[in-house]
Symmetry: C2
Subunit: 265 residues, 2 copies
């Protein structure tokens, strides 16, 4: 099925196809207008510290839903869905190292696991595009550039680390509008955390992102930096949890809630 | 010292007076422009469920800070402060029953306690007043009327219960403005959860609040309902925790952050 058709399907229709193994590909553009979420699954033992870390760092770690211990159902954002099957591709980490990449996690599921769904920038990018602002990595058909900054997250228990940001260049006369638009969506990273000089937040070379792909910054454009959902995964990994499961990059969970439902205003 | 003088002092000056026992009284009006918070202390054993409950119910339970286990320092909102001493009056509950009312909790403190500071409506009331909107219970010099609604909170672990709301009557032509102003403050209950007919949210008699005092609703005024910070305390109490410590009503913790720092926009 083409992406254009997938854009018009309902989230539960997409998830049903994913569950049947018919749709093993990145979810960008599917079920247009609906929220997509990052997945992070950790044992209950680590869940309190992880939840507290997210609470203390809401910009990089905006929580959409947390399952009950041992349950794979995200009751708030997609009742009836099953996080063991409804994501196209997963990554399984053991003691901080990638151990497996799979299309379902039934064999890894345990009664002590807690699944976190975290907001993703797709939501605010939709809002930026609707307002006519450019998203360079979409224009260039590549991944968004991401950078490790020198901005320390507020630590919580075992978890600590630097904030990772994503960058989108904006024409100078659109920067204020970009701030306004993304401020409406605190549940998905919200307003930028930095505008302008990359060095001010510890980025040495803007042409060399730590993750994703470099994008063109045209003359007259200002780099604008948003807190990035890679942060919680990167931070969780530093404590080398015995088991941690995430979505594979770009292969997100599609929720039943609409982007606009997350707007604060 | 008069309230007018106390309004001009810095939070740390007020807290120092409280710590010395010089200021055992409600904190309304003190350190004007600074955030005041509700306190709820529970054993670590319950902290995860309580944190998750707050995460799932951000309107009644907006979290300002959570201390590390065994620490009484709210590092995010008042570094250096001590929650064992810096609130004028505390209530100690054992197995869900009020056991003591004290001016410090040093003798009750334990290494397994976690302190939660939750947003309070003082912040958005300041914003409403600044915009010229009336706050009836301040005009009548009484406590805000609070009601138990039929709106179920999203449960988390052992915690479940109905949402408690506070009510402020607004002139019909100011209701929209009241929504706009309080929408800016999601960290302190945010926008109203109901406007108009009390029966629609299960309130039988608007003249008989479940907590606080009744206030006058003038002809042409609409009751406007906000989620209330009494909710988490009421909910926590239903599970009868072996130990729970809260502030005494009206005797809040004064933070170092300003009301305007909590504005989303």
């Amino acid at each position: 099925m083409r992406v254009k058709q997938l854009a018009t399907l309902e989230p539960r229709e997409i998830r049903a196809m994913i569950r049947k193994g018919e749709l093993v590909r990145p979810t960008a553009g599917m079920a247009k207008g609906y929220v997509q979420g990052n997945l992070a699954i950790v044992p209950k033992e680590l869940a309190y510290d992880f939840l507290l870390f997210a609470q203390r760092n809401p910009k990089p770690c905006p929580i959409l839903d947390v399952t009950d211990v041992g349950s794979a159902e995200p009751k708030l954002v997609a009742p009836g869905a099953d996080l063991r099957f409804d994501i196209p591709k997963y990554r399984v980490y053991k003691n901080g190292a990638l151990a497996d990449e799979v299309t379902d996690i039934a064999s890894y599921w345990r009664d002590d696991l807690v699944a976190f769904l975290l907001g993703c920038s797709f939501t605010f990018e939709t809002a930026l595009l609707s307002a006519g602002l450019p998203i360079r990595h979409i224009e260039q058909n590549c991944n968004v550039p991401m950078y490790i900054t020198n901005i320390e997250c507020v630590p919580a228990g075992a978890f600590h680390g630097k904030t990772v940001v994503s960058m989108r260049p904006m024409p100078a006369n659109q920067v204020v509008r970009a701030v306004q638009i993304t401020s409406r969506f605190p549940a998905v990273h919200g307003a930028p955390i930095h505008i302008g000089d990359p060095a001010a937040i510890g980025i040495k070379d803007i042409t060399k992102p730590d993750f994703g792909d470099p994008v063109l910054i045209n003359p007259g454009e200002t780099p604008v930096f948003w807190a990035c959902g890679v942060t919680p995964q990167a931070v969780a990994m530093t404590v080398k949890p015995e088991l941690m499961i995430t979505h594979a990059p770009g292969h997100m969970f599609i929720c039943d809630i609409r982007d606009e439902e997350l707007a604060a205003l």
